[in-house]
């Protein structure tokens, strides 16, 4: 009915595409949306459901600074209170034991952060230190030596484990003091425009528990935004297997492999979905791993391992903290119920709805994204399993822009530290949803596994290996096309 206002052919065409469902919207919505001509302009070029990347679990209410803090909009009445409890344990700091707040003590003895939110502020994304002096927070260093553990995972470093913990509670020394500096690398786009990339160089000073072995492998990891994880877990395993192409049989230059990692609860190897190398098979294991590795909190899934062999101060401190607790289950620093709530919370944080869809650059950017073959790994859409464990995540059409598979990203991004099936050069395709809001939520735009990229353009320019052709397509674009592609990524 609004078509009569319009003279332009494109508008006419799009108006004719208004679906019966749109006409059936309540009167208010017609006044505000159809009346302003904004919504259907935007939606006409979008595929079904693309506006709501998390399906019914999308956040359509708060954006900006609070874009990542909302529960899935379809959260059940039973889960909603659990979500809020989980939020409390995600956000609030853990304190040294014993404390009055018994549910919240057990920090350390060594740790990377005092709370989940310290590295994921407002459920968002961490960044690397800005100076050599700034402490590491939101960026951690994984450690290992050549070889494998009992389940084919990385072999921990004697005295330090598989992660460097740069803080300790009073009386317990930090494992070491890491710092990072950057080397500038110059390059030019096809049109002659110059750019500069930053390559990080890490140093580990003051090792507290013995010299580091010469063959120690160190891999940096940024804390990513914590949204839509339950939906990613609900992508059917056979979908991932169908996307796999380890021998590149289709000859598109893109392989794609599942990282089969050890699933503690299942007691077998399962596809890794979370972590920069696809290190973790489930949200639960990701959360348990982070509690132990990052905060020094034991949980029902991972009940020990805060102190490494030679860390005497650590072990003594731990013994003193728990001196009054005999029972093994009671010694767990986060107990069953609260742990379950944090897992639920982490699973049901909503993905924000798409934005800026009326901007023609966004539409153009999507086409450029597809033309450059970015969707070869950043698979736009999946349908989640109808029998996923969380009701909210079942049978949703989602738009995470990832295949959750490992890809060779080239030598420039290689970390020299394999994890299960993932080689030094292989990384799991990270989801792109919500990335456009990281700046609003966390006041930075640092991307890639170590935060080296200062925005989308640099992140793309670091792509290599299987993504080299896509990167070259981006380099060859003119300035306006590059801006359009980035406008699209910012709308996700």
């Amino acid at each position: 009915m609004m078509c009569t206002h319009r003279h332009h052919e494109r508008s006419l065409k799009h108006c004719s595409k208004i679906s019966p469902a749109r006409l059936a919207l309540p009167l208010l919505a017609i006044l505000f949306f159809t009346g302003c001509g904004r919504e259907e302009q935007a939606e006409a070029w979008l595929e079904d459901g693309e506006r709501l990347p998390g399906g019914e679990a999308t956040n359509t209410l708060l954006f900006g600074r609070n874009a990542f803090i909302r529960p899935a909009e379809n959260i059940t009445p039973e889960h909603e209170p659990m979500f809020y409890s989980g939020n409390s344990f995600f956000n609030q700091a853990w304190v040294e034991a014993p404390a009055s707040t018994r549910n919240r003590d057990g920090l350390g003895p060594n740790f990377n952060a005092r709370s989940c939110a310290a590295c994921h502020p407002r459920d968002g994304r961490g960044r690397p230190p800005e100076s050599e002096e700034e402490p590491f927070l939101g960026l951690l260093l994984r450690l290992s030596i050549p070889g494998e553990n009992a389940h084919g995972g990385p072999k921990p470093v004697e005295g330090y484990g598989d992660q460097l913990q740069p803080f300790g509670i009073l009386g317990v020394p930090a494992e070491a003091n890491p710092s990072v500096t950057y080397k500038e690398i110059e390059g030019t786009y096809g049109d002659g425009t110059p750019y500069t990339l930053l390559e990080p160089v890490y140093t580990l000073n003051d090792p507290a528990y013995g010299d580091f072995p010469d063959d120690m492998m160190v891999s940096p990891r940024i804390a990513p935004q914590v949204i839509g994880l339950g939906l990613l877990e609900a992508i059917p395993e056979d979908r991932l297997e169908a996307l796999e192409d380890p021998e590149d049989r289709d000859g598109d230059g893109i392989s794609g492999r599942i990282n089969r990692v050890w699933d503690i609860r299942a007691g077998e190897h399962r596809p890794g979905r979370f972590g920069w190398k696809g290190d973790q098979p489930t949200v639960e294991q990701q959360v348990a791993g982070a509690f132990l590795g990052d905060i020094g909190i034991t949980s029902p899934l991972i009940a020990s391992g805060e102190c490494e062999g030679p860390q005497v101060a650590c072990a003594e401190s731990l013994e003193a903290q728990h001196a009054n607790t005999e029972d093994a289950a009671e010694r767990l620093e986060i107990q069953d119920g609260n742990f379950e709530r944090v897992v639920l919370y982490t699973s049901l944080l909503a993905v924000p709805a798409r934005r800026n869809l009326e901007d023609p650059a966004v539409r153009q950017g999507k086409q450029l994204f597809l033309d450059a073959g970015c969707d070869g790994c950043h698979t736009p859409s999946h349908r989640t399993s109808a029998d996923a464990s969380l009701e909210e995540t079942r049978d949703q059409k989602i738009w995470p822009y990832t295949d959750l598979l490992l890809h060779d990203m080239g030598e420039a991004l290689a970390d020299g530290r394999p994890v299960h099936d993932a080689s030094s050069r292989e990384w799991r395709t990270p989801p792109l949803w919500g990335l456009g809001l990281v700046d609003a939520v966390n006041d930075h735009t640092r991307l890639l596994h170590d935060g080296r990229a200062r925005g989308f353009a640099e992140a793309i320019l670091w792509h290599g290996g299987e993504a080299e052709a896509s990167r070259e397509a981006f380099r060859a674009m003119d300035a306006r096309e590059r801006e359009a592609l980035i406008a699209f990524l910012e709308s996700l």
């Binding site: 505000f32 302003c36 001509g37 708060l62 803090i69 939020n87 304190v95």
Partner: protein, 390 residues
Amino acid sequence: MKSMMKPALFLPLLSMLALTACGEAEPVIPENTSDMVTNYAAIVSASYTDSVTAAKDLDAAIDAFAADPTQANLDAARQAWLDSREPYLQTEVYRFYGGPIDDEDGPEGLLNAWPLDEAYIDYVEGNADAGIIQDTSVEISATSLESLNEQGGEENIATGYHAIEFLLWGQDMNPAGPGDRAYTDYVEGEDNAANPDRRTLYLTTTSDLLVTHLESVESEWAEGGDNYRASFVSESPEDGLRKVLTGMIILSGFETGGERLQTALDSGDQEDEHSCFSDNTHRDMIQDVQGIQNVYLGTYTRLDGTKVSGTGVKDVIAARDAELADKIEAQIAESLAAANAMETPFDQEIASDNAEGRARVEALIVSLRAQEDLLEDAFRLFELDIPVAE
């Protein structure tokens, strides 16, 4: 790609269409919104000034106690702490949108963070040697406390209201009442706790810091300055309304109803409550909701009894949907009544064997959740879900 319309041509066309189409409809943001924003700023400013005043009274009472540590002076300091919470809690509704209290440099974490790391500050049951106070190698000064506070990336471990609360009351090992730290913790003596001088210094230093941090927020909201308030009232009324409603929504559901009440009820842990040393948590709840009502009705009653009043959020919503405006008013009143109906101390109200108490807490949660839902309706009424670049 060549067939794509050039953005430069396409954009004006789009906005022209939007204007034509929208011109006939009622404006989405009512005209009285800018009055509401201005009145809101006046309320914020007055309540932070009251918070500073009460914090200075607390600081004076603490100085008096430090100079002459007696039971009477400890009692006076405790009362001053309780009094200082009243205006501050009403300011919590100004959080969550990146204003001066909790933007990147905001002092919220230094002022009001919880839970407190007691064992990082002082001795605790089971560890007599714990804390900075016993560790004589650590200097106690405003600078050192602020920097120690950031260790591990959380500005929330060693300063603020709850640190002072812990130093005045001590751990709450008493089911029937609050903690009962002896005033002799601040007196040198063979049978007394070690390091009374360092404890005194810690207490007076955090108390000074509390005043300083509150003053920094107060000045950002002071009238007539080149400050946050100036930009807040001059940006578009839509942006102001978005911020005001965001604070109300998140404090209602997420923070008070969810994180604080639901979690406490869930755990039934005596000390999983915000003001656990003083058993003052019920006031936290009441005054948080009071703050929401202040903003909603556009009226704040100051410490001296005078009122700041003008256009409230209710008036803005009523301009578009009178029924919704009334519903929200009634729901906030219900929450306030439910908060007042809780019995004290809160830690017994949530105890697993107190079914009646738990039902009272549950009623408050249900009301706050309903209040959150209605406020979200208002948010959507103004189409505030259309985001802006920040």
